[in-house]
């Protein structure tokens, strides 16, 4: 079975630009979460979506937004990019939305902001 997939693998943008990252969950999983992993740190929670609705939001500015589509895939959008947005963005999927559900991670999208 296919795992969580993310696209693109790598991305280079300049300050002020906008970026869209994409994620396809494991088949049958209805929840998608997004995490930001800055070099040398653990992942930080950004959003969780379940059944196309936002169910959780981390401590990130409004420049970050996301949505989930009817097929449960998801997009993460970041506006007005800053140098500090350079990171590995990880998508995780789970069957449900409760805290006991195991989250399965994709390979990530490496974003570099110049």
């Amino acid at each position: 079975d296919a795992g969580v997939t993310q696209s693109p693998t790598h991305l280079i943008k300049t300050r002020g630009q906008h970026v869209t990252l994409r994620c396809s969950p494991i088949s049958g999983h209805k929840s998608v979460s997004w995490y930001q992993q800055v070099l040398g740190q653990g992942p930080q929670f950004i959003f969780q979506y379940y059944e196309k609705e936002e169910r959780g939001r981390g401590n990130f500015p409004d420049r970050f937004s996301a949505r989930q589509f009817p097929n449960y895939s998801s997009e993460l959008n970041v506006n007005a990019l800053l140098l500090g947005d350079s990171a590995l963005y990880l998508c995780a999927s789970s069957q449900g939305q409760v805290s006991t559900d195991t989250q399965y991670f994709g390979p990530g999208t490496r974003l570099t902001v110049l």
Binding site: S33, Q48, G56, L90, D101, Q103, Y104, F105, G108
Partner: protein, 113 residues
């Protein structure tokens, strides 16, 4: 609010030696704990998880962890490491109604020949 602390940022160990990676948590509610491994330029792979029941949890690749409520710890152990175990290891937790994972800062395990 929950927090997860990994006490060692780097752990070097010789091949075939035992290893313990330390993790402590703080939470005022029921806690669920996970260990993930991250190989270079890859995402996170689940090693094992504790939800309830037996405090000794066995995972993949010969790893195990013990949940200790009195010491608020969830240390990861392997009796004999291989070169291929070289990677970054993350302890993470979720609790109560908080659906997201809270991660520690990671421990880089380097297995030396």
């Amino acid at each position: 609010a929950q927090s997860v602390t990994q006490l060692d940022s780097q752990v070097p160990v010789f091949e075939e030696a035992p290893v313990e990676l330390r993790c402590n948590y703080s939470s005022s509610v029921s806690v669920y704990l996970f260990w993930y491994v991250q190989y270079p330029n890859q995402g996170l792979q689940l090693l094992l998880k504790y939800l309830s029941g037996s405090t000794l949890v066995k995972g993949i690749n010969g790893f195990e962890a013990e949940f200790n409520k009195s010491q608020t710890s969830f240390h990861l152990r392997k009796p004999s490491v291989h070169i291929s175990d070289t990677a970054e290891y993350f302890c993470a937790g979720s609790s109560g109604s908080a659906r997201q994972l809270t991660f520690g800062s990671g421990t880089q395990l380097t297995v030396l020949p």
